[in-house]
């Protein structure tokens, strides 16, 4: 039932939904947050704005993960790394734009003053330029993914082995970034940001701007993903997932297909990370811990992999649940979260979205059988 060709991405109702989402993000949310007075039932609180903004970034990562795992069958346990690298790349810009307002009133970030560094190390060059930082956000995860992916896919590393070495990679980077001598602030990472492009960062307006940007990025990612999976490229990817050797025997070289989607997925994660950092106000190596990357896979699994809406639903469900549980049952929330993961994998192999589809199919069957032919 897939439609092919970029012209037929969605049907009219699909486009309607996309447009509705855009209106919701770009008009309704800012209105409810900035215009509707506090205390009104319809007021969207600052807290909700930053929470949803944050989760939308996670949803982008989940979508990126779905492209590589759900559609191509390659489980990466290192996507947290690309997310964090994007965040660090943009964080460098944010650190430089603090200017002389740090604790030590120095042009260097506080942690460098602290290590008695006199100048920025070479890899910090030009990061004071916004556009260059944006370029880094894309390039750093992209190049790393390309190089890593090239060698891994060329050696035909597959399945669990690939998962484990991506885990080793993110773990190695985490240790590297934890070192203070690496020059990225060690365990504390980057924090205490002041402004973006000379606008102060901790204002409701800036928060809304970031929220809208994240929302647009999410919708954009969704459209891009939709376009890819409904194109010929997407079919080849699915074929690789289902039977890689047959794809090879049919004359395709899976290397470049895999490499493309893998690099793209990493770049998307980087962009999500760059949007995430100014919203939460901190980036530190904890984001690279293997546990975080596993969680990304879990969002996708909960929502339903191999669908595009699934990862988004999953990211919202899991993170929303965590946000709620940690307040409602601070001492027992891990039980709930753990139980959800088990239940989803056992009973909902296609995730929440799969369940919905299944229920609907059943209903239709009933209808069909109810109507005598």
């Amino acid at each position: 039932m897939h439609r092919s060709g970029p012209g037929a991405l969605f049907g009219p109702r699909g486009w309607g939904a996309v447009i509705a989402a855009l209106i919701l993000i770009c008009a309704v949310a800012p209105l409810l947050n900035l215009v509707v007075p506090k205390g009104s039932l319809f007021h969207l609180s600052d807290f909700s704005v930053s929470l949803i903004g944050k989760i939308m970034c996670y949803a982008i990562v989940a979508l990126a993960m779905d492209l590589i795992w759900g559609y191509t069958g390659i489980l990466s346990l290192g996507h947290g790394l690309f997310f964090a690298l994007g965040g660090y790349a943009f964080g460098m810009y944010l650190m430089r734009s603090i200017g002389l307002d740090g604790v030590y009133k120095s042009p260097l970030p506080d942690f460098m003053v602290f290590l008695d560094w006199k100048a920025y190390p070479w890899y910090w060059s030009f990061t004071e330029h916004f556009l260059y930082a944006c370029l880094l956000v894309v390039l750093v995860p992209g190049v790393l993914a390309f190089v890593f992916g090239y060698f891994a896919f060329r050696s035909r590393i597959k399945g669990v082995y690939f998962s484990i070495i991506t885990q080793a990679m993110t773990f190695a980077f985490m240790l590297l970034f934890f070192r203070n001598d690496t020059g990225f602030g060690g365990n504390n990472g980057f924090t205490d940001f002041k402004r973006i492009l000379d606008y102060p960062i901790f204002t409701p307006q800036m928060r809304m701007v970031l929220f809208v940007l994240s929302g647009l990025a999410l919708v954009g990612t969704l459209l891009l993903a939709r376009w890819i999976v409904s194109s010929k490229l997407g079919r080849v990817l699915t074929a690789i997932r289902d039977a890689e050797s047959r794809v090879m025997f049919s004359g395709y070289d899976p290397l470049w297909y895999k490499l493309f989607i893998w690099t793209l997925s990493a770049v998307l994660c980087g962009i999500a990370g760059a949007l995430y950092v100014p919203q939460v106000g901190i980036i530190n190596p904890g984001e690279m811990s293997p546990a975080n990357s596993i969680e990304i896979a879990i969002w996708v699994a909960v929502g339903g992999r191999g669908t595009l809406i699934g990862p988004i639903v999953g990211a919202f469900l899991v993170n929303g649940a965590r946000s709620w549980f940690t307040v409602a049952f601070p001492e027992y929330w891990l039980f709930f979260l753990g139980a959800i993961f088990i239940a989803v994998t056992l009973f909902l192999p296609n995730g929440v979205v799969g369940l919905v589809a299944q229920l609907r199919a059943k209903r239709r069957e009933k209808k069909l059988s109810a109507k005598p032919a």
């Binding site: 600052d46 290590l115 060690g186």
Partner: protein
């Protein structure tokens, strides 16, 4: 099917998103909400859980005596799960959604740094109960733990004194994060001012959660052959156990190379067989073994509370420095609110300055009028076979905190109060 499914799924997504937009939070008028922001899961749960409990105990105690200004305190406990961005989110939630009047919480420096912008933006009030590296002074934070001059410097002076063994070489061993880095930077500059050469200082860092100290202990042994050596350890809580076990096993005794630690207290020693550690040192502003009426009462209350709430480890109730600091913080806040006759942060902050409290450490502790830190006495204790500390040295009275250490260049220009 694909198309319609997509539409509906999007609608579901939007609904889910909307569900988060306003929570079921309503504020009751007859209570004062107090936020507790300590990790109850993840790596820091080991240290922070008990601070949550001691805070709840203090709140219960205050409520039993009639609350604050006739209103009961209502604790709001959240779990930031040792996840630093989550700390910021939870802080936002506590101040923005739950409208708490004050927050007691954080342990690691990075968690404090992560919530700071939130407290500044929303004008919240945080009481931070753990010894830390200094180099910070924020209007919205009161620091009830020790600054480096209230812990690290006196301990080092003691090690250099004849009584402490007259150490001439120092191993500065820490976990690689900001607290050890800063402390060691301050100590290095302090040691230099005392005429210790760079070659006699060995600075070493291990990653978080490091558990294999064979190489490090062998290195310390090697280093200590070069002269009377002491180890100053800023190893993070959890890694201390394997470190001490290795010390004991490789036969490095406290009488040969004493180790003074700044992150090892009664709680950290709970999981350790302390016999091989006897004689190693810790510097704190409070020890459970202190003998005075205030401490006896504090210990008794804690034991009763732990038993009543069936807390894990209630069979061996322990108190430690950050617990005392949490307890002091809550009472100082209560007194300040009563003085200001308001829970408004702008009125409470000036009222906290100059508050005094008869603390379990046996001194009447004062909150400095300007610098948001406590005046605290410093104790140096030796580990005993029962996991307690025996005080071998103490300052004659409370010491004023110097959050801007004079041993860091440029700090002489800093003002001793929030800007």
């Amino acid at each position: 099917m694909q198309r319609r499914g997509f539409l509906k799924q999007l609608a579901v997504g939007a609904a889910v998103a909307a569900a988060f937009s306003y929570g079921p939070y309503a504020q009751a008028a007859d209570t004062i909400k107090v936020g507790i922001l300590h990790s109850l899961s993840g790596t820091m749960a080991i240290s922070e859980t008990v601070l949550k409990d001691v805070a709840l105990m203090a709140i219960e105690e205050i409520n039993a005596k009639g609350g604050v200004m006739g209103k009961k305190l209502e604790p709001v406990v959240v779990d930031p799960a040792s996840n630093w961005p989550l700390f910021a989110e939870k802080a936002k939630q506590l101040i923005g959604q739950d409208k708490v009047s004050v927050v007691f919480g954080c342990w690691t420096s990075v968690s404090r740094k992560s919530v700071l912008p939130v407290f500044k933006e929303l004008n919240g009030l945080l009481f931070y109960p753990v010894q830390y590296e200094g180099e910070e002074l924020e209007k919205n934070v009161f620091y009830t733990g020790a600054a480096p001059n209230q812990q690290a410097i006196p301990a080092t002076e003691y090690l250099m004194s004849k009584e402490g063994g007259g150490a001439k070489r120092f191993v500065l061993l820490g976990t690689d994060y900001v607290y050890p880095r800063t402390t060691n930077k301050i100590l290095r500059s302090f040691l230099k001012s005392k005429g210790i050469a760079d070659k006699d200082i060995d600075e070493k860092y291990t990653p978080f959660g490091h558990s294999d100290y064979q190489t490090i202990v062998a290195d310390i042994k090697k280093f200590s052959a070069g002269g009377k050596t002491a180890v100053i350890s800023t190893i993070n809580g959890d890694s201390n156990v394997p470190f001490y076990k290795e010390l004991g096993n490789q036969g490095l005794k406290a009488t040969d190379v004493p180790v003074v630690a700044f992150s090892v207290g009664e709680e950290e020693l709970r999981g350790v067989d302390t016999k091989p550690l006897v004689g190693h040192l810790a510097a704190w502003n409070y020890f459970m073994s202190l003998k005075n009426p205030a401490n006896d009462e504090f210990k008794k209350k804690w034991a009763a509370y732990a038993k009543a709430k069936k807390l894990p480890g209630a069979d061996k109730p322990l108190t430690n420095d950050p617990m005392e600091a949490t307890y002091i913080g809550i009472y100082m806040w209560k007194q300040a609110v009563e003085k200001a006759k308001s829970t408004d942060v702008n009125k409470v902050i000036p009222a906290v300055a100059g508050q005094t409290f008869k603390a379990p450490s046996g001194f009447t502790i004062k909150m400095d009028e300007n610098n948001h830190h406590l005046h605290r006495a410093v104790f140096i204790g030796e580990v005993q076979a029962d996991g307690q500390f025996k005080v071998v040295w103490k300052t004659p009275g409370p010491v004023k905190a110097a959050p801007w250490s004079p041993f860091i260049a440029g700090n002489d220009k800093k003002k001793g109060e929030p800007e």
